[in-house]
Subunit: 659 residues, 2 copies
């Protein structure tokens, strides 16, 4: 959490969080999709799910990931990603179906279904895709035939001619590993000889091992309800989810109708035709029409959940869900940080606080771990974090363009002081001197959480004087776990925090700070390190310090966030590198702006402070105040020893820091 | 903890606890003895250690174990157990050196040294002893030659002729596993040709791999200090601990002098001879003389710790230690329960609360575990507790004789009510109707902790009406970890508890209790089980509930006590069996007294309750009050269903429980 004020903890002050849609049970992270679906159906608790297609461009991928984060926060049971045979769908490209689904699972924490089409594919190719999907942590496949390429397609002996062949192949090669979904056609598949024959094909797909059905879109509730009755009549017992398509525009409707060979009912066309040039009017009608149809479906008692064809758009679907009361505005968080949905991470419940605002980077750097900490961080003598060499992976990079960043962080820096001003502008969410609002910093790609107001004065004051804060959390001494701001975990519990503050500051400040900190032993633990790894700490034994924990009815203690001295050394590499990778490189090679950032990178220290005495008021601001006081009024006799090495080189720019 | 009132937690309300002598660091449980010794020496922190010999009789063994618990509470760095070649010292008998040392380590949590003599032994025999010691968790050996048997002893080629041979053998066969101690003779070994030759032998023993030296007793500080100087002069650098012998009686002094061939200095004999028939006077002199000598030793700066020859007695040694300020009256507890010193248990920091008053039984039943819970109890689907078939193991059985138990628990029981009275007498620490104070119950062999006063009224009230409490702890919401009553763990932390209550009660009460408990969902978790395993609970997922935890500076959360549904089923076997094994069997086979206990055993339920809302006042007494209220004023319409099965048989005696 960057600067989460009196309010929030962990990485959740930003919107970068995956949120579970149900009251959080451990089961939620460990159950497979079909079991979650059964549990929700049995409880009578309606759900929704969302379909997306892969983006066409790299910047589209960045945008789609942030859409996943936003739409994920409403609590979908799952999302699914379509398979685009023409788009190199199984590759490692950022626009591939495989990569997008993997990102949704691993980095956005969303239960996801990857579509897969088998038409014109060899068994080896299909098995290769499935193996890769499994390796990436994907657990669910939508098995489709796909459209034949070319007009001269014929059934192949022993090849994949129907989705049924693919379902059989998955079950044969991967046993029960995947949950399998298949498509249903409420008005019959356009190529099927008849509606009844198509139903029989669907029965074959289910009998071959499919776990549930998602239907093609339709325009009347009755169409779907009749289809369900017909399925049940021939012995299809698995869940059947209606595919909901909110009409969002005239062109997209026409295109869809052409592709799907569906007929739009006259009563809909009669409304749409007259307003076909008014996008907003069509969307409003689409929302109204969809809400009405969904109400009928849900009230029928035969529809446990709704599946939305989003067309990668947010507004219409979210509005429909809000009107239906299915969008969870304030979802419960299972843990104070954004969980990953990769099956091997399902027990993970402890992380270092350092990555609170960069959960995707943490997941990336620990993706090769075989085990994840559970219950305790433990004495991690060598956690073996991966290197973070590529700061430009689409799910890690800044959502802002270089141009936007330059506007926010300064086209031209004149001194360290002008860097301090960027920090204070960010904290106060105010325009900088050039009139641009600073919405992000290299260490946090999201604006500050609004709840930080109560801490804003302190943050403003210290940043102004070159204590450049990048992470903090307030003291919390037993707030209810359903507290709207700081709560997490199951209801009926209590959450706690030790105050935490992390910042960059000059070696001059650190020298004085170390003197001040002696007065706060053993209450305050600190780690102070520069880019070269020169490290000063009063923490013993390389033991982690739990700084966030929760006590719940009938549970063991959960301690999701720790300050760990070993992983701090890995974080420090990343935290220092962000100065260069994200900020200095905006400027020309030999420019003063670049030199200023480079000077800070080379000479400043990264400091973290923990106030262990959580039942008392946070003393960390007092520590910083004492440091300023001592800087302003140094004792007459100057000490000769310097606990922290002075930087070897002089500042290349005029030092304007306050004395 | 039986009934620990507002005061105490876990098994510590009884004296059945092993206590660490130093401010508790994890290091304390994981370091080997020589490293602890070095750390204490370097910190300038004086320590003491205690020598005992194995008992001659089974009841002597029971007494010695409770002496270990009492003297262990003063904080010895280690104890040592002498080797009695004539007493089958390596056997599994309760009087063997091996078993006593094993009990001290495993059940009393004391760092222990086992003596071993090699004279007249084969290498195979010695290796067998050492292997057994290692298997039992012993880590330290005092390597001695021992006294030759018979007058015709001669050196054997390749045999064990000197302690040096034994030291070499241990290092050869067991590498660095054991810490090895050897004996030093401040006035020279009586069989040595000269003092200097004896010093050379000592140097050989150290060079062969001994880690430290404990000396034979002596009567003048100068004797020891000269010996240390002489050792250092020939290059002996390891720690040398003075063997301290407080004179406790005329006969024991004479016998010792005879065995050790030491001369008692004239200035001592001059004092003792005139008072030789006055034991108290001799002991007082011994204390005074020892304290004076120890002061000289400690002040010399060459003595980091004192080793006491206790002769298996408490008073004199404890008094000397108190006067020297080495006895730790209120030792810090590393955890709220009695830890074991077996190396494989060194990471253990979670236990079910059920065995809080029976820690030795818990250790016994888990002795075959390969791993011990650390940080979390976890989802222990099958913890595989050992059977507790032998309730008469010397370290598990009651310290009271059958006769004493009959006096306390009733020569003749006339009704269930007379059992209730035994419980209330125990709780109020008052004499029963026959005038005997009830000092123990089958579930707790120690008197109630004095701190229970504040809970006494509630306990008295509920036991009087047949809610027979056997374990409880109050709510604690963040008391300092150095709180003299409830504190545990390192200083500067805070400890917490959820209120816990465990009791036996009739099925009639349970039926009503279950109705009452519905009002307390989800605040109160319960498990209710009878001897047949018929189980009712509102706890989900078989998850453990942490009921004691601590937050410390610079540490992860510690949660040492849980209520675990799986292990509760193992505990219930033990808790019910104690009715029969310890109580019913005091009476004749067909006697009414025995039938009454048997009836309770067969028909009562064991209930545990946890109040999850630890920041609020404990609601568990209110739960019981509500139950009584509903029993006293049943609703007019009688419910037809019975949530709990009624006992099949009728009470064999007149039911006098209040209606």
């Amino acid at each position: 959490a960057f600067h989460d004020g009196t309010s929030n903890s962990g990485g959740e002050s930003s919107k970068e969080s995956s949120r579970s849609s149900t009251p959080v049970l451990a089961a939620d992270r460990t159950e497979r999709l079909r079991d979650k679906m059964r549990r929700r159906t049995e409880s009578g608790d309606h759900w929704f799910s969302l379909e997306f297609f892969p983006p066409r461009t790299a910047s589209g991928a960045v945008n789609l990931v942030s859409r996943f984060d936003r739409m994920g926060s409403g609590g979908p049971l799952f999302i699914d990603i379509t398979w685009h045979p023409a788009g190199d769908p199984g590759s490692d490209k950022e626009t591939s179906s495989m990569m997008i689904a993997s990102t949704a699972v691993n980095y956005c924490g969303l239960e996801s279904i990857l579509h897969l089409t088998c038409c014109n594919q060899t068994k080896e190719k299909i098995t290769g895709y499935l193996s890769k999907a499994k390796h990436l942590g994907l657990k669910n496949i939508m098995a489709l035939r796909g459209d034949p390429v070319g007009a001269d397609w014929e059934e192949e002996e022993g090849g994949f001619n129907y989705a049924t062949d693919l379902v059989k192949h998955i079950r044969c090669e991967f046993d029960d590993y995947f949950d399998i979904c298949v498509a249903g056609y409420p008005t019959g598949h356009p190529e099927a000889d008849s509606y009844d024959e198509d139903l029989r094909h669907l029965k074959e797909k289910v009998d071959a091992g499919a776990d549930f059905i998602i239907t093609q879109l339709f325009f009347r509730a009755d169409t779907f309800l009749k289809f369900v009755r017909d399925c049940r009549a021939i012995g299809i017992t698995c869940p059947i989810l209606p595919g909901i398509f909110p009409i969002q525009g005239y062109q997209s409707l026409r295109q869809l109708v052409k592709l799907s060979k569906l007929e739009v009912p006259e009563e809909i066309m009669r409304v749409i035709e007259p307003i076909k040039d008014n996008d907003a009017a069509i969307r409003n009608y689409g929302i109204e029409q969809t809400v009405g149809m969904c109400r009928v479906l849900l009230e029928s008692g035969n529809v446990p959940g709704l599946h939305f064809y989003t067309l990668n758009r947010e507004v219409a679907t979210m509005e429909v869900l809000r009107q239906l009361g299915l969008w969870i505005e304030d979802p419960r968080r299972p843990l104070p940080w954004a969980v990953s949905a990769h099956p091997k991470r399902k027990v993970e419940d402890v992380r270092p606080i350092f990555w609170a605002s960069r959960p995707k980077s943490y997941i990336y750097r620990t993706q090769d771990w075989d085990d994840f900490p559970n219950g305790r961080w433990g004495n991690s003598s060598s956690p073996a974090f991966g290197e973070l060499n590529d700061y430009y992976l689409f799910y890690l990079k800044s959502k802002s363009s270089k141009d936007a960043l330059l506007k926010m962080w300064g086209e031209e820096l004149t001194s360290e002081q002008s860097v301090y001003e960027v920090f204070t502008s960010y904290i106060k969410a105010q325009p900088n001197c050039a009139g641009h609002k600073v919405m992000c910093l290299p260490w946090n790609d999201e604006p500050l959480a609004p709840e930080t107001n109560l801490m804003m004065d302190e943050l403003d004051k210290v940043n102004r004087r070159g204590v450049l804060t990048i992470n903090s959390q307030p003291t919390i001494n037993g707030k209810p776990s359903d507290d709207p701001i700081v709560g997490w975990g199951p209801p009926g519990g209590y959450v706690f925090q030790k105050a935490y503050l992390e910042f960059f500051t000059s070696s001059e400040n650190v020298t004085v700070l170390l003197k001040v900190l002696k007065k706060y032993e053993p209450r305050v633990n600190y780690h102070i390190v520069n880019v070269h790894g020169q490290n000063t700490t009063n923490a013993h034994d390389m033991q982690p310090n739990a700084v966030t924990w929760g006590i719940f009815p009938g549970r063991e203690i959960v301690q999701p966030t720790v300050v760990d001295p070993v992983s701090f050394m890995y974080w420090k590499d990343e935290a220092f590198a962000l100065w260069i990778e994200q900020w200095a490189e905006l400027y020309d090679d030999e420019s003063p702006s670049r030199m200023i950032i480079k000077y800070i990178h080379d000479n400043y220290f990264l400091v973290n402070l923990v106030d262990n005495d959580f039942p008392l008021d946070n003393c960390l601001w007092q520590v910083i105040d004492d440091m300023f006081e001592l800087l302003d009024n140094p004792p007459e006799e100057q000490p000769t020893e310097q606990p922290v090495e002075q930087p070897a080189e002089e500042s290349p720019v005029e030092d304007q820091s306050p004395k």
